[in-house]
């Protein structure tokens, strides 16, 4: 369960130290955009030490690494993969070949560290027009890919369009990402809402993302974590309805009935799958988090 994925700059020890206390299901320690080129080494060392010291036992951990066209990404993988974060987020991923390059390098680091191949998963950040058009190929390039992640700020720059709060300019990108990820059988996460002072806007944007089919959403302000979690949590009405569906299925099985209807509507497989997902998520939330 990753309703919210919270970005924390990799060079801010005071914030990282509280990363697992801010309510996000997943914390992304950022070695890329948040860190100036002359601080890359320092941030990598800090993130490495923080993972070792803090453990992040109560929260899923992602590390965003530098893109393949920089001199930093290999050192990022060498330092971070042995620490077994849940996910590595490579940036500006443009096609399946990028995933394969990363996959091979990670497998090597895993081998050297005595970790089973594929221990650490990938969540490629799609933030270029090329990456967007290749989203399905990226998502299905390797079993290491656990999810796709939309980065709208860089994408809109690449698309030559302004980034707006309303987000009409990324409607296609959102739709395409969701379709590609679902077709490949992986999760998909929405770009952050970047106006940290607009709480209402954050709620609206998160609800819209959920309505489109995203699995969760990135957050750049801890203040928005709760709103995003709520938007991506099943409502009590949805939970009650899912329980009703599953109870009807159970009852029909006991009675040996094939076709099942509830409140005059047929219950088909997708409805059952959705009900099971809803209950699984409600149970995970009740247990208090993603881990």
């Amino acid at each position: 369960m990753r309703r919210s994925m919270l970005f924390l700059p990799g060079n801010t020890p005071n914030i990282i130290v509280n990363g697992d206390a801010l309510g996000a299901d997943n914390v992304i320690l950022d070695l890329e955009d948040a860190v100036a080129p002359d601080q890359k080494d320092a941030a990598r060392i800090l993130v490495r030490s923080a993972i070792k010291a803090l453990g992040f036992k109560n929260v899923e951990l992602t590390v965003r690494i530098n893109s393949l066209d920089t001199p930093y990404w290999q050192a990022d993988l060498d330092e971070i993969v042995p620490l077994r974060p849940d996910l590595i987020m490579p940036t500006k991923v443009g096609g399946a070949e990028d995933v394969l390059t990363l996959d091979a390098c990670m497998a090597e680091v895993e081998k050297k560290s005595g970790l089973p191949a594929g221990t650490v998963k990938l969540i490629p950040l799609i933030e270029t027009a090329r990456g967007l058009e290749n989203a399905y190929a990226v998502a299905s390039a390797s079993p290491r890919v656990a999810a796709l992640f939309l980065g709208a700020e860089d994408l809109t720059a690449d698309l030559h369009c302004p980034r707006t709060k309303e987000g009409a300019e990324i409607f296609y990108a959102r739709s395409r990402m969701i379709s590609a990820a679902r077709a490949a059988g992986v999760d998909v996460y929405d770009t952050p809402f970047t106006d940290v002072n607009d709480d209402e806007g954050a709620v609206k944007d998160a609800r819209f993302a959920r309505s489109m089919g995203f699995s969760g959403k990135a957050v750049i302000s801890p203040r928005h974590v709760r709103a995003v979690n709520e938007a991506f949590s099943p409502t009590q009405k949805e939970i009650d309805s899912a329980r009703e569906v599953l109870a009807a299925i159970r009852q029909a099985k006991e009675q040996g009935r094939g076709a099942i209807s509830l409140h005059g509507k047929m219950i088909d497989k997708p409805i059952v799958v959705r009900a099971e997902q809803t209950i699984a998520m409600a149970e995970a939330i009740a247990k208090g988090g993603s881990k």
Binding site: V17, N18, D20, L22, P222, R223, R226, G288
Partner: protein
Amino acid sequence: MMKDSKVIAALKDAILRSGLKDGMRISFHHHLRNGDGVMNMVLGELAAMGYRDLTVNSSSVFDVQSPIIDHVKSGVVGRIETNYMGAKVGRFISAGGMKEPVVFRSHGGRPSAVENGVTPIDVAFVAAPTADPMGNATGKIGKSACGSLGYAEADARCAKHTIVVTDNLVPYPLEDAMIQEQWVDGVVAVDSIGDPQGIVSGTTRITRDPVGLVMARTTVDVIRASGLLRDGFSFQTGAGGASLAAAKFLKDVMLAEKIQGSYALGGVTSAIVDMLNAGCFRSIMDVQCFDLGAVASIRDNPRHVEISATRYASPTSKSCCVDSLDAAILGATEIDTDFNVNVHTDSNGFIMGGSGGHSDVAAGAKLCIIVAPLIRARLPIVTDRVTTISTPGRTVDVLVTQKGVAVNPARAALRDRLAEAGVKVVDIHDLKAAAEKLTGAPRRPARGTREVAKVVYRDETQIDSIKSVK
């Protein structure tokens, strides 16, 4: 003096008429906070008149009153009794600057001691933002308005001689007056009793610190899970950023769940006023206003009620407001694994605070919640033993940090309730270990052997002794 006026032209004359002698006890209140000009004015006058060895009993001593240091050095002031001391004077005291130890009481213990003759006041100097010629006085109006004058009431009522000092003399009678004429001997009009900028804060913004917000939300979760949040709920919180945030989140919950509380108590901020105006409480019982919003509210809203320190928290009154409190949110400089709280001294042992109402509220409230980050300025907040015991651990129920909530082991039922409601309950020793894993165990500063201050609990027993700092 004319029969229909107690106005005395000069402060010096008022002092002469009071019968004040060397070695006597004089008192002040702290409602003008860091804008107060009256204590400095009076002590300056007393020094010029040649007084020696006076006891200053003030509900607080702020940094603006640091000229008291010179009066201690010169022998004008021989003893200080207070409930709170700012860091400037605190540092001087901690360094051994005063022969006699400072006596710290609480906001409830002080009026009790005044009323019961433990600390009889010879002359009370009452700074008054507005007064009439017979001594009726209020803090609600005037250019130096500070709101409630609750801490001055016992002084004015019980002192052998009471002098009101005002910068806004209005015609008799001043109807709504916390300080009443039957207690007042003289009234002195001055140009200014203080700097309005320092009296109240105009800032009412809640914290934007994500850790503070997490703790505030968790605090509200604890209050909800305790079962106390129902119609008739009563509540007190402080003026810090996280406290204001907790008030805001609590307001949202109370409105959403249509809960109407009975009263909010304090130490009042705009956040509490907002809760009153939104219908979260029937009334505010206000011993002290922290900001301009609270001052305006106590002036304009009859449901925002001014109360004395005696009514607020005196343990020897027949009852007081803290006794009926459901939940209170308090801060801490340190808390130890027995839940004892320090709000008197900093990590180096220097005095920089005091109980204020901390220990009173903790003793009275059914649910006393301490809110503190696990680490502050690279130091862990949870320790094996606090540097100074300000509030005994037996009166503290819960510690809220950003990394979990610790419940006093004596409150097993509460712990179970919180855990059942999904609050992340952890052992306080584990919080200490988690902090020390990051910071290391801090070394204790070297302390002298000389007692520089006594911490006197609300029942007049001494619960700790503050030593000099080497």
